[in-house]
Symmetry: C2
Subunit: 343 residues, 2 copies
């Protein structure tokens, strides 16, 4: 069974971890958002690709929620000292010493002219990542936000440095209009048996992937059912600080688009893209609203721990079974395939 | 007293350390070779500038002979793991975790469009380096060597990766012909009271500085006496492995130029550039040969420990007194100043 997952970093990789407990990792292709990628201290950093690779290779720091387990921070501590006279350049994006190796590998490769997709494949192989890992594009696409205060910021600067603490006027995916999907992205979608839209920020993580020319068309043309997992669970209080930050950012971005921070608002962005939507059981009250958008809706416990672990008794997350059941129920979408389109 | 020192990394910085025990560091300008600089793992690394800055700020690892004291190597160890499937890209130039902060500071600054000279000044200030530190140029000049086996290598690749273990056909300073001296270099030489050519590899460290258009002219035009300190001491057996490597490289480069690994061969390269030459007392047998080249020659114990410490009883290296005496004895070179030239 060939499954393609589209998504960002933390939320999506929890689902992918849960998924590979049920399906063959070799049949799974992950198309990862690179709109969060940034140049910082001369390095090309790809937060979502790295989070995904670290999570799927079991290297992630579960407690901290990002980066590598057992990490040290000598380089950044030293850099802070070097920046004491130039505080505006001081590091705000923390890079661990072991994590730096990933960025050095990548930046060196880019400088030598290798495309990001090839470097990503090399890194994934070296780390022992089971699924195939693809950046959405080899081109530089960067999500920028315009705050109501008039600052134009890279998304990471808004999210990390400013703690997602400002209202926004606009979100743009710079460079997206001229970007080409990375080699393999359209082919994977076209030949998939099931396509998943992970529980990632709809505007900052899924949005950039859909903004790459050709991706929406491939999703429309594929025979595979397209199933989305809700990125929003409104009815469950958030206790984890990392999740609180991610929720705050999702809410700000949705507000900038005139939407509320609800599952149905997230679903409304996927109208015409997804066939089905997995709604958290806690938000069951939104079921009818989403059904009315023309999406099939299934309920599940969607909140996963960092290990991607299950609530279910068999050790596999209920949401995985719900997704696979939905996919089987919908089956190949013969009707939506148009002559001459991909696959 | 305004002193300008031209030099490379390890050897020269020992002399500069000894010198600042006698003279006001604020009056000392160091023009440092950047021909060894390289792009590696996406970072711009400037070995001679960093060695000089680390030595003069007391941060150098004295035992290892390079890099920072108390260094760790997690990033490089992790990178080696990432490169297990791509061994041709595996690190051969060791970068410590704290040292990485310097390269991140620099590479980030270059990417933002700041010139190397400004970044170097920022780093020197942050590290607390007393003398003024100038790269020879803000432009990229890289020393490459052509081996008899036909390999064209960056000097660092020859020196570090191949342990200077091959005979050479040719040494070229790529980009030198179009390089401009960094802001302040010609002015410092022009207004100096004394110019020193440090005990650095004459072809790999002093050579690139002299290859930057304008430097030779400034040295010819300045009123300051130009005093060179021998980079070669033939008559003293080498025991330190780092010094053995440097000596091997000097010997190979001198052989490629048809010269022997002797003080007089090194002096012959400075004919018409230097006024005087400080010869090691152990090599006194070469005194007449160097005098015949038109150079004033003084004898001293020139070998310095990594601390730049003295052999003399007053705690200052004899070679420093010898240099200052020579400078005072020669005095301003009114005769060599041509109308309309720098100063």
């Amino acid at each position: 069974m060939r499954i393609v997952g589209l998504g960002g970093g933390v939320g999506a990789s929890r689902l992918w971890r849960a998924l590979v407990e049920r399906v063959d990792p070799g049949g799974l292709t992950l198309v990862v958002n690179t709109g969060d990628d940034l140049w910082i201290h001369g390095l090309r950093v790809c937060p979502d690709l790295d989070t995904t690779a670290y999570a799927l290779s079991g290297r992630q720091d579960i407690d901290r929620g990002w980066g590598l387990r057992g990490e040290t921070f000598r380089a950044m501590e030293t850099l802070r000292g070097l920046n004491r006279l130039t505080p505006d350049q001081a590091p705000w994006f923390n890079l661990g010493d072991a994590d730096l190796a990933t960025h050095l590998f990548r930046t060196g490769g880019l400088r030598e002219g290798r495309p990001l997709s090839r470097i990503t494949a090399e890194l994934a192989a070296a780390l022992g990542v089971g699924p195939r890992l693809l950046p959405m594009t080899d081109d530089e696409v960067e999500t920028h936000v315009l705050t109501v205060g008039g600052s134009l910021l890279h998304y990471q600067e808004f999210f990390v440095r400013r703690a997602a603490g400002e209202e926004l006027r606009q979100v743009v995916h710079r460079g997206a209009e001229h970007a080409r999907p990375a080699p393999g992205v359209l082919e994977a979608i076209g030949s998939a048996d099931l396509v998943l839209l992970g529980p990632s920020n709809p505007l900052a993580s899924i949005g950039p992937i859909l903004a790459v020319p050709g991706v929406l068309q491939a999703l429309a043309a594929t025979a595979a059912p397209v199933v989305a997992v809700t990125p929003v669970v409104s009815a469950v209080p958030i206790t984890d600080p990392g999740e609180a930050r991610r929720a705050a950012s999702r809410a700000v971005l949705l507000r900038a688009a005139g939407l509320s921070h609800t599952a149905s608002a997230a679903a409304s962005l996927l109208r015409g893209v997804a066939d089905a939507f997995v709604l958290d059981r806690a938000d069951a009250i939104e079921l009818d609203a989403i059904t009315e958008m023309g999406l099939q809706v299934a309920l599940a416990d969607t909140l996963l721990s960092a290990q991607g672990h299950a609530r279910g008794p068999d050790g596999v997350a209920e949401v995985v079974d719900t997704i696979l059941d939905l996919g089987a129920r919908i089956g190949p979408r013969q009707d939506r395939r148009t002559p001459g389109s991909a696959s």
